[in-house]
Symmetry: C2
Subunit: 449 residues, 2 copies
């Protein structure tokens, strides 16, 4: 038992095994741990639209039913599919060196046999934006950046644009391909994948990310003003429509006339890792919290879980949910999709009239050392569409993201990265919040825009 | 300037740039940094016997001459060559999951198309040793172990036997292939390669190592008593004789009648990383220390550098050196081949008559916070043969190995893992010791066996 969590136990009956960090994981009674452990062991990588994502849906339905959830079902939809292929890269000049690369989602394939071209180095996305039109014809544009770790992960928004927008901007200036420094904060040789996109009117080109040590090599050579050439093989490519789906499950409330509380995570993962922190952990946390609340007595409002499909490749699941459930009122939505490290802060997007509700939640979280963020809750990808459409309330339990981008979208996203104690702290924080909102009789809604 | 190194500066003229940890690397004047930075940038991976190892020898000769060393030359030899090929693995049952694997040096290739077979899990090498003869026919033997990090790296000896001996033991019991948990202490998805060997009379079989997270997956499934099958592609294979060579360089002493002081590192690297900590750093440290000593005035004894070839695949360079220089007396040998983290201890193998010499060295190192190890110096791989043959003295400047086996023999062995300040501390410790031994007029020899 830890000092941190001791105060919690006096207030609420816990069904978690709280074990020291790095000790053996909870056995049996740890619903969150069991979900992420079994999902990563029995399914593993589950790319959106793939047979493994379908297997994950089957697994999820069986698990959620076994845990006692009701109305467990799959809501199918289709997505614009993309599959990975062979991928490799090497500097061919001035020094021959292999590079560790991975294709970005929605990358176009390189020609048969790959391509070899001069590299134009840009120290930032802004530098690429400033390149003259047509200046990249026949070239590989390389984008560097300075993303570093922070607790709130706030660098991911701006620096992640090198991945999200960089390839399309390079394409618009005639580049044959775009390669970026991985959007990550680690020093491993495993590059970070992630989605990019090409707006209408811009033809997709091959796009990949190299690992940080490879990016350092490129920066050292660029820093000396030496010309570089690169050979690139990225066979990932679009494949038309693929099947996907959301998994929904409920713990029905006592008053069906009240809008449900929506708790979301995503079930798909990038294909490189096993989707432990992104986002098996989130699915475990929300399921465990919902069950904890139910053990305190049937809640007033229905608690609905959304284990979304195809989040990584374009938030298809969140969009499909918002469309399918547009006619149904949603009072409040929460999402867990930022790893498994401890909740350190709570953020609200609540109407002024819900200030007392926010105060009760803050009081319940204070014994866990969780303060209130002055800034408004941003919500998450999968609840974004429905919350926006209905001006629903959003509460974020902000997780410590200091090491999240060491692992995010890499092969290193595996079960061993989850600290059982911090996972349990997440479940405890979620349990406290959901217990309050699911038993709130008054109207709940988001802040005025 | 750091607190740690301040005392040093009052005693000895330094030509190093001592910068804070993680600050910009030393510019220009940092000989050790420049060697490891340029070797990893301009050459990169340099597998024993490969064209890249040959390129590294050319690079080394040019660099050592430019630094002012004399008698710079290559002493060629040939080795039993091995080259890596395509490699991949997957569990096919009970759950289909890709595994991250790399072949061990001297692995035999899998048949065309790979092989698929049941896995027999052994929790340790001892468990494999206890398996009945013939019991592994048609099976893949899997060896787990419990290697954890320590400052002196002492777990590598015993636990590394799973890699060194495991495949041959598996083969002797009929196994189709042997797969091991990487001999490493990290949590990355990059498996650790390294040499294995098959004694005469035991036919080589495919042998590979999976990363720690993959090994954890296998252990979880084995822990539930579930049967596993694995698909294995390991195309690495022996290729007959290949050219290699040692690079030698000297700073001639004032008295050629005195036996030289031999300082060794190895120039080859495993092919997965760029050989920064293993062992570009060692080559930088010994060269920088030798130059520092020469700047204090021409030493009494010749200082000879041995940048050995083909260490990783069987210490061929050390053996070739011992054979080529058998007739030449060697008083003392030192080797740097354990990364670039700080020297924390000094170990001696010195004759009783050299006790005053040891005391002078200990006194020179004490201001750096380096105490004397009670145990005798073990020496290093490349100086082992010559030191043993001549009962030469050996002094080890023991480096902190706490994170060495996170990186050892993986793609993650890259320049960014080197802390310039700790590298500079190595050079300072080496400079102090070499300044004393290279100016020692009296006889120097190893302890009686």
């Amino acid at each position: 038992m830890t000092q941190l969590l001791r105060p919690a136990l006096t207030g609420i009956a816990l069904c978690l095994s709280l074990v020291p960090a790095h000790a053996a994981p909870p056995q049996g009674e740890g619903v969150a741990w069991d979900i992420v452990a079994d999902l990563t062991t029995e399914i593993g990588p589950r790319l959106a639209g793939s047979p493994r994502e379908a297997a994950a849906r089957d697994w999820a339905v069986a698990r959620l039913k076994a845990l006692g959830f009701q109305n467990v079902r799959v809501e199918p939809f289709t997505i614009a599919g993309w599959v990975r292929g062979a991928e490799s890269a090497a500097l061919t000049g001035p020094y021959p060196q292999p590079l560790h690369i991975t294709a970005l989602g929605n990358s176009a394939p390189t020609p048969a046999g790959g391509l070899t071209a001069p590299v134009v180095y840009f120290a930032s996305l802004d530098a690429l934006k400033a390149a003259p039109a047509g200046s990249l014809a026949g070239k590989i544009a390389y984008i560097d950046h300075a993303f570093v770790a922070s607790q709130d992960g706030s660098g991911y928004g701006p620096f992640g644009q090198a991945r999200r927008q960089g390839p399309a901007i390079g394409a618009s200036k005639g580049a044959l391909a775009v390669v970026i420094r991985s959007i990550g904060t680690d020093r491993n040789r495993d590059p970070h994948t992630g989605g990019t996109s090409f707006p209408d009117g811009i033809k997709a080109i091959p796009a990949g990310a190299v690992s940080a040590p490879d990016a350092d090599l490129i920066a050292r050579i660029a820093g000396k003003g030496q010309a570089m050439t690169m050979h690139l093989v990225l066979e990932g490519h679009a494949v038309g429509e693929l099947p996907s789906g959301n998994v929904l499950a409920e713990l029905p409330g006592r008053d069906p006339s009240l809008a449900p509380v929506l708790l979301a995570c995503h079930l798909d993962s990038w294909d490189l890792g096993t989707g432990a922190i992104d986002d098996g952990a989130g699915c475990g946390i929300i399921a465990a919290a919902a069950l904890n609340v139910a053990k305190q007595g049937q809640p007033l409002r229905t608690i609905r879980l959304l284990w979304a499909g195809s989040e990584e490749v374009g938030v298809f699941g969140g969009a499909a949910y918002a469309k399918a459930h547009a006619a149904e009122p949603h009072a409040l939505a929460m999402e867990s999709d930022f790893g498994a490290d401890r909740v350190w802060r709570v953020s609200f997007n609540l109407a002024e009239a819900n200030k007392p509700l926010a105060e009760r939640i803050a009081a319940a979280l204070a014994p866990l050392g969780i303060p209130v963020n002055a800034a408004k809750a941003g919500g998450g990808a999968d609840i974004g569409a429905i919350a926006k459409a209905q001006s629903a309330a959003v509460i974020d339990l902000d997780q410590d993201g200091t090491r999240y981008f060491d692992l995010h979208h890499t092969p290193d996203d595996t079960l061993d990265k989850i600290d059982p104690e911090q996972l349990a702290q997440n479940v405890e924080a979620w349990t406290r919040v959901v217990a309050i909102v699911a038993n709130e009789a008054g109207a709940i809604s988001g802040a005025a825009q």
